[in-house]
């Protein structure tokens, strides 16, 4: 098990920030190597800080034992954002840099939506939207029955909240008193073919989740300190927890931020170079 040293808060934040830089770098490497097959770029970048805060610090995982029964479970319900997931699993050491380059290649383990593979740290297949939270509830109930103390973290898209099955699950979790379950809603305000407002308005998400019986808070989904604080402070709250993470689709690169053309697109060599330069500049 990776032993977390006692660090000052700023050191923790620094570690997560550095992790997020590497996640973005890995995302770029995968997206560029995918070439013409395109990659879901925007929605992966909007969850980069969320994934980094979880994988760099909050998830209780053992890099040498992906089947550890007491590990925290992570479910990427918005499976198309798997670039960020694979990137984080690479930083943890579950996926090698070489394997990252097989993204969306023939016979790969790393398709454009996650496929169950315990060795690589992927507990569930996802991709069809609206299914991840139900899986999380099943695991959370199992954890309670086995008297385990691990948490379950599920990332859901705001567009994904169009799916009725999300709300079936949202209704069930408080019923079963699952205080070990976290739903993180990536509110980047876009879905595949336009803004939420244009396609299907999912406004007042905080009110919706709160009224369903969740402890719910809105945070800046790119502010590592805010995310970190939420995960720390909400531990003892005796309800399932939901974070409405206000994010920017395509976050981190001038050409992709809030530009929905980057929902699923080809990262050309020149965009790749531009993105690398921006990373250097922005992270210094």
């Amino acid at each position: 098990m990776e032993v977390c040293e006692i660090m000052t808060e700023s050191a923790e934040i620094k570690k997560i920030k550095n992790f997020s830089l590497n996640v973005r770098k890995n995302i770029l490497e995968m997206a560029v190597s995918a070439g013409a097959s395109s990659a879901h770029f925007g929605g992966a970048l909007s969850i980069t800080e969320i994934v980094s805060t979880l994988f760099a610090h909050h998830l209780r995982i053992d890099k040498n034992n992906p089947n550890w029964e007491d590990r925290d479970r992570f479910i990427l319900s918005k499976g198309h954002a798997c670039l960020a997931y694979y990137a984080a699993l690479c930083e943890i050491g579950y996926i090698s840099k070489d394997e990252l380059k097989t993204f969306e290649k023939d016979d790969t383990n790393l398709l454009g939506h996650p496929v169950i593979n315990r060795k690589l740290g992927i507990d569930f297949s996802n991709g069809s939207l609206g299914m991840g939270l139900s899986l999380g509830i099943g695991v959370a109930i199992s954890s309670k029955k086995k008297k385990k103390d691990f948490n379950i973290y599920v990332i859901i898209g705001d567009g994904e909240c169009n799916e009725g099955s999300v709300w079936e699950a949202a209704m069930a979790a408080p019923n079963f008193k699952l205080n070990n379950l976290y739903a993180i809603i990536d509110k980047n305000n876009f879905q595949q073919t336009g803004s939420n407002k244009e396609i299907m308005d999912v406004d007042s998400l905080k009110d919706k989740w709160t009224s369903f019986g969740w402890h719910c808070k809105e945070v800046d989904g790119h502010n590592i300190q805010e995310l970190h604080n939420f995960f720390l402070e909400s531990q003892k709250i005796n309800k399932p927890k939901a974070i409405i993470a206000n994010t920017v689709k395509g976050k981190g690169f001038s050409f992709s931020e809030n530009n929905n053309a980057w929902h699923h697109s080809v990262l050309t060599k020149s965009f790749y170079e531009k993105a690398l330069n921006e990373l250097k500049k922005n992270y210094n």
Partner: protein, 321 residues
């Protein structure tokens, strides 16, 4: 479970749904990690005693079948042995994509039980009848489909399915006072059909409620000097190819099912036969790809020509063509 004459009669009287509840009670005694999940149908599924006796092994998800399958998959991934059950249309089609992804694609081992499948709920209309479940599920890889012939076979199928290492769907047809096919214990094996009666001229393959009707029809055909074999094809997927091959020396193969003739047992047999260079004609007896006006179970069986007399008429006509 004690399989004796008295219990077989009781299970037959109470029908497959109440029998499910009794089996669940027994399974919970033996299996520590058993979980039974329903969607607000505990009474209909005969689970009232079960939920009171084993509240820790029971979950009601409310009227939310998609969530039920997802929760079941989450539990299965943590090594719980999960049975889900609700009325057949809602157990299969309402949550079809969850079944595809969680049971098919991901391979989570769950035993789904569709209650009151076929035409038993005819007075409630075709929203509650289920003549499509086999067709829909058969198109999803990795899911085993079982349709028990009577209440004892319901017991045997459930026992086998919870021990099986793959996802399964058990389709319960018939109602209370379910006719008895098996009067005593026998060997049940998933994927292996059972020849109930030998015969040379015609081979009938049937499943679920139609097995008893096929036996009755065969008796009538015998009285007309038509030697008829009856095979209980309790497992529809994977289909028992050897049994079909063996039946190809008959003059006619007949499939009989309380299901649409598209996609069900008949289709599975025809797909197998299509590969053979020579095989007899096949008569598809079942619901003829239509939604009729509703009515009682008896009325609908009659209307869809699924009584032993109508079955004989249709076979006789085809056989003498």
């Amino acid at each position: 479970m004690n399989i004796d004459e008295k219990n077989i009669k009781t299970w037959s009287t109470i029908g497959p749904r109440a029998t499910l509840g009794i089996v669940a009670l027994e399974l919970a005694k033996e299996i520590d990690n058993l979980m039974v999940l329903t969607c607000d149908v505990s009474t209909s599924a005969g689970l009232d005693r079960y939920r009171k006796t084993y509240p820790e092994k029971y979950l009601d998800l409310g009227i939310a079948e998609q969530n039920m399958i997802g929760v079941a998959a989450g539990l299965a991934s943590e090594n719980f042995n999960v049975i889900t059950t609700t009325f057949a249309p809602f157990q299969t089609m309402r949550c079809c994509e969850q079944i595809k992804v969680n049971l098919g694609y991901m391979g989570q081992k769950i035993c789904m039980v569709g209650i009151a499948s076929g035409l038993a709920l005819g007075t409630l209309g075709y929203t509650h009848c289920c003549i499509e479940d086999i067709g829909v599920l058969r198109s999803i890889p990795e899911i085993t489909i079982i349709s028990p012939a009577d209440s004892l076979e319901t017991v045997k199928a459930l026992q086998a399915a919870v021990k099986f290492n793959k996802p399964t769907y058990i389709r319960l047809t018939g109602s209370a006072n379910n006719p008895i096919v098996y009067k005593k214990d026998y060997n049940f094996e998933i994927g292996k059909s059972i020849t109930l009666k030998e015969g040379k001229d015609i081979s009938i393959f049937s499943s679920g409620s139609m097995v008893y009707k096929s036996l009755e029809a065969a008796k009538i055909l015998e009285s007309k000097n038509i030697s008829t074999k009856v095979v209980n094809m309790h497992t529809i997927k994977p289909i028992d190819k050897a049994a079909i091959l063996k039946a190809c020396d008959s003059k006619l193969i007949v499939s009989i099912e309380e299901h649409n003739i598209v996609g069900g047992l008949g289709s599975a047999i025809a797909e197998c036969k299509a590969l053979l260079s020579k095989s007899p004609k096949q008569l598809f007896i079942g619901v003829q790809d239509r939604y009729s006006k509703g009515g009682s179970y008896k009325f609908l069986l009659e209307k869809n020509r699924l009584t032993s007399e109508k079955i004989v008429e249709d076979i006789f006509e085809e056989f003498n063509k």
